[in-house]
């Protein structure tokens, strides 16, 4: 049973650039959530996608956008990168109406 996968594993970008992170949910899951985790902090909710629509959004600026595809995979896009965007970006999948989230290994983004 394939778990949640994310790509790439690591990424280094320069301030002002744009980045796209990718996530494939656990087999059978249809809901994808994205989180930002700074060093020494808990995951902070960015947004959640179900049926290719953004269903919930956390307190993140419009520079953060996403997309969900018909196969339930998802992308997180961040524009105009800031140094403060450096973090571990986590994708979690679940079943809509189900409450158990499973996380991927994360993408570590470094902005220089």
């Amino acid at each position: 049973d394939a778990g949640v996968t994310q790509s790439p594993t690591h990424l280094i970008k320069t301030r002002g650039q744009q980045v796209t992170l990718r996530c494939s949910p656990k087999s059978g899951h249809d809901t994808v959530s994205w989180y930002q985790q700074a060093l020494g902090q808990g995951p902070q909710f960015i947004f959640q996608y179900y049926e290719e629509e953004e269903r919930q959004r956390g307190n993140f600026p419009d520079r953060f956008s996403g997309h969900q595809f018909p196969n339930y995979s998802s992308e997180l896009n961040v524009n105009a990168l800031l140094l403060g965007d450096s973090a571990l970006y986590l994708c979690a999948s679940s079943l809509r109406g189900g409450n158990e989230q499973y996380f991927g290994p994360g993408t570590r983004l470094t902005v220089t």
């Binding site: 989230q101 996380f103 994360g106």
Partner: protein, 114 residues
């Protein structure tokens, strides 16, 4: 006040000790309570998931929820060096879109000494 409060530690215990990890919360709308284990530079791994007040046991792990006090705990019996990790509590509540809103604690770093 944060919705979920968790002592960041670090907490150091000798091998074989019983570990107690705790979180408090302020939002009485939270209905579901979870504990995740996160090893360094890895994604969180779901350990325990509970709904109602009371205890739930799984091997060496016991999750306890007290909704009246807005307090949850995770107990680890016979702790092992391999239990050394950051433990995150998480809570969720249903939303109008039919999904769930999750809030995480900051995590407690645990080190079990051999």
């Amino acid at each position: 006040q944060k919705e979920v409060e968790q002592d960041p530690g670090p907490l150091s215990v000798p091998e074989g000790a019983i570990v107690s990890l705790n979180c408090t919360y302020s939002n009485s709308a939270f209905q579901y309570f979870m504990w995740y284990r996160q090893y360094s530079r890895k994604g969180p791994e779901l350990l325990m998931y509970t709904y109602s007040s009371g205890n739930k046991e799984d091997g060496r792990f016991t999750a306890q929820v007290d909704k009246s006090s807005k307090y949850i705990s995770l107990f680890i019996r016979d702790s092992q060096p391999s239990d050394s990790a950051t433990y995150l509590c998480a809570m969720s509540t249903p939303t109008t879109s039919g999904t769930y809103k999750y809030i995480f604690g900051t995590g407690t770093r645990l080190k079990v000494l051999a």
